[in-house]
């Protein structure tokens, strides 16, 4: 078993060297049946998570939130407030855990870094000409370096969807490798923008491509196109990280982002993680939610569970 794993590992690192090898490998992955994948995702969505399980899931989900603001209108004041909320999501309840990370544009990183320093909350920044990725590679890499220097310890990059859809897999691969290098010690999350990849077969191939190129996380979406994270897309990505670990021994995280707004949704994702890849991924180190409004719904449900009554939205901070 060890022997096969080692040889499989060396085989896979060779793949990036040739366009043909990469294409042959990616197109040799088992297909995804759309109807079946959507049906499985829907089935997992019918799990009934109540009482103690719900309380546990809510706290876990809070710890997994990448609290995000990616607006042209972001200001130092706005992102500082967001960072403060990340540290203490529920000022009324000190037992409420902090979120996983704060996610902002590179220019906002220094302001967030001041607030988060030493807190254990990670600082993620979208780089590489987010969200379109349509800039020369050198500029994308400079974007990444700037964010890391300013204090980001996680970089959310976008893949070159144009190159991917045109079948230029090596180009996508090389860009991810270069970005990973520019990250230094920062963790690299690779945004596939699954809404633009359109098919589950493409999602599976892009997931493998990102993992082969060294991504630490694969992430569904920028949140800037109409279709963001969905359960079936996340299912296909979870299957990919599961199979990738089986083949290479390396574990990669998953981050659905965009459109996850309610506790109910978040719990469906956690059930899916639990039953697809198992407990190894049920931690903020390996699974994150890219979200903003989700946090307040989680807090509202958390308060409901502890106090037995729903508090109005005015009892939760809007940052």
């Amino acid at each position: 078993m060890t022997a096969t794993t080692t040889s499989a590992r060396s085989d896979l690192t060779e793949l990036g060297r040739s366009e043909t090898a990469l294409r042959t490998f990616l197109h040799g992955l088992p297909g995804v049946d759309q109807v079946g994948a959507e049906q499985r995702a829907a089935q997992l969505g019918t799990r009934s998570i109540k009482t103690t399980a719900k309380a546990e899931a809510i706290d876990l989900a809070i710890r997994m939130v990448d609290l995000t603001t990616l607006e042209g209108a972001d200001t130092p004041g706005k992102v500082r407030a967001l960072a403060a909320k990340a540290l203490r999501p529920d000022p009324a309840d000190p037992s409420c855990p902090h979120v996983g990370a704060v996610c902002v544009y590179p220019s906002m990183v220094p302001h967030v870094a001041e607030v988060l320093r030493g807190s254990g909350v990670h600082l993620a920044s979208v780089a590489t000409a987010f969200p379109s990725g349509q800039a020369p590679l050198e500029i994308k890499l400079a974007d990444v370096r700037a964010a890391v220097e300013a204090g980001a310890d996680e970089i959310d990059m976008v893949i070159n969807r144009g190159a991917f859809l045109a079948g230029r897999y090596s180009e996508v691969y090389d860009e991810i490798v270069a970005t990973k290098e520019a990250c230094g010690n920062a963790h690299l999350k690779v945004i596939l923008e699954t809404g633009e990849l359109a098919t589950y077969d493409n999602v599976r191939r892009a997931s493998w491509l990102a993992m082969l190129a060294g991504g630490d996380f694969i992430k569904t979406s920028t949140g800037k196109v109409p279709v963001a994270a969905t359960l079936p897309v996340t299912l296909v990505m979870l299957e990919a990280v599961r199979d990738f670990r089986a083949a290479t021994g390396r574990q990669v995280g998953v981050k659905p982002a965009g459109g996850i707004k309610t506790t109910k949704d978040a719990i469906k994702y956690l059930v899916m993680v639990n039953e697809t890849v198992g407990a190894d991924w049920l931690s903020p180190d390996w699974f994150r939610f890219g979200a903003s409004s989700l946090l307040n719904d989680l807090l509202m449900q958390r308060t409901k569970l502890t106090t037995g009554v729903y508090a109005g939205p005015d009892y939760f901070t809007l940052d």
Partner: protein, 476 residues
């Protein structure tokens, strides 16, 4: 770890009576002999209710009531009026679906998830579908004015008690027949609740009669000279006996019997979805499914990979309390069925196949069997030939498409089959060659009232569902 807290569906929605009579001529009556039997909850062995046992005299009464209703009310009634009753029944089923689902899970042992999301929606859909046919029979392709047969004797199994009732009663009534139905002795409760629904819908007395009992009751019903049509779903053994007893009479017969379906996985299959399909094929309803994909034929070049995924997936199955909303696999329906599953599984081990089950804790009381697969099975093993009717999968391998066809067809049964491949042309090539009434492609155990269902060879004859399903209840 993420442990799911218990999420039990409430039983309080069901109003169980201590005892139930027979439903004859629109009313619940006591049996002439006064005999009775008990229906138990297979998940706990708790007695749910005392059920009247119908003898020959009771069956005769029911058949005569059905005859009178046929001649005086239901037969002469215009199709559009019959449709109104069927639509009304369908709507009441939807309204009371939670109650029916809980009762079904209590009596049968199937997970509430399935009775709620599969059985009940299909039951209502069947009544809606055939209600639509009732005034359109001249357009069903059986001539300008097809006539009903008269009184239908219907005997149904315990695996989908209410759904099988719907498959039988809906087309029969739509075509203008009246019925006497015998539910299985281990699962009579939803049929009796259905009788109450007939009352609630003001269905004319005698159109639907329900006689409860075991094999003797069924025999009395099938052999009664007053019935014009016999419809049976159940084992091939009983089906044979019925075919013998009906031979030479004017009775029209449809049989839906056993199966040993092949679920064929090719090397280009979407593996993750194929594994879901394999699990759904054999562990859905504890494998108590006549069309279950009980033989997995997997191409040798991907066998290891598929089996590894399958085992990992099986470890996620949650076996236990049928009323818990997170239960995937419920209880085996009866002690007798459990004994049969055990016997055949032991035979599998004794004949040299390798047995595997995921670690799973089974409740102490009740009838339980862990999801099980056998690898290294050959065509010569009993577990590859006989219907186990439980959560037990036999895994065989093949090398070429031709070999897959040969192995799939090498069974006396022919009810269903599944094909998993990314190649459309291969699906069509295979579907042409498989001797099975239903062939699913890249899915399994999908049902719809518009789609005909039935078998080849020893899996029976006649079709249920769709336009075809009307034929068995029309004089054509």
């Amino acid at each position: 770890m993420f442990e799911y807290a218990p999420a039990p569906e409430s039983r309080s929605v069901v109003d169980l009576k201590p005892s139930y009579g027979l439903f004859v001529d629109g009313a619940f009556v006591d049996p002439a002999s006064g005999g009775s039997f008990k229906s138990v909850n297979p998940a706990s062995e708790e007695v749910l209710a005392e059920i009247a046992e119908a003898g020959e005299e009771d069956v005769d009464r029911a058949v005569r009531a059905a005859r009178t209703a046929y001649e005086k009310v239901w037969g002469p009634m215009p199709g559009r009026d019959r449709a109104k009753y069927l639509f009304r029944i369908a709507r009441i089923i939807q309204e009371r679906s939670r109650e029916l689902a809980v009762l079904e899970s209590l009596d049968n042992g199937k997970p509430i998830k399935e009775s709620r999301d599969v059985d009940l929606p299909l039951v209502a859909a069947h009544f809606f579908y055939y209600a639509g046919w009732a005034d359109k029979l001249p357009h069903a392709g059986f001539g300008p004015d097809p006539k009903p047969l008269g009184v239908a004797a219907q005997v149904i199994p315990w695996n989908f008690p209410l759904l099988m009732l719907a498959w039988k009663i809906a087309p029969a009534l739509a075509a203008g027949n009246t019925v006497v139905l015998k539910p299985a002795e281990t699962t009579p409760l939803t049929a009796l609740l259905f009788a109450e629904i007939c009352q609630q819908a003001d269905l004319p007395a005698g159109v639907v009669n329900i006689v409860t009992g075991a094999g003797d009751t069924g025999r009395a019903l099938v052999e009664h000279p007053g019935v014009d049509k016999v419809a049976f779903t159940g084992s091939t053994e009983v089906g044979r006996a019925i075919a013998r007893s009906v031979a030479g009479t004017r009775k029209k017969l449809t049989l839906e019997l056993g199966g040993k379906a092949a679920n064929i996985v090719f090397d280009d299959a979407p593996i993750d979805q194929a594994v879901e399909g394999i699990v759904n094929g054999i562990f859905f309803n504890q494998g108590h499914v006549c069309c279950a994909g009980s033989r997995l034929l997997v191409q040798e070049s991907v066998a290891d990979r598929v089996l590894e995924s399958l085992k990992r997936r099986m470890a996620q199955l949650r076996v236990g309390d049928p009323l818990d909303k997170n239960t995937d696999v419920g209880a085996i329906n009866s002690a007798a069925q459990l004994a049969r599953i055990r016997e055949l599984s032991d035979a599998g081990s004794a004949e040299g196949a390798e047995r595997w089950s995921p670690p799973c804790e089974l409740p102490e009381r009740g009838f339980w069997f862990a999801p099980t697969i056998f690898t290294g099975v050959t065509q010569a093993h009993r577990i590859a030939r006989e219907e186990i009717f439980g959560p037990v999968l036999s895994v065989l391998t093949f090398r070429t498409p031709a070999e897959a066809v040969e192995k799939a067809n090498n069974t006396p049964y022919g009810l269903s089959a599944g094909i998993w491949t990314d190649k459309g042309s291969r699906i069509l090539w295979l579907a042409d060659r498989l001797r099975a009434g239903v062939v699913w492609a890249n899915t399994f155990n999908k049902f719809d009232p518009t789609s005909p269902f039935g078998g080849y060879k020893e899996s029976g004859y006649g079709r249920e569902g769709g336009r075809h399903g009307l034929e068995g209840y029309l004089n054509v």
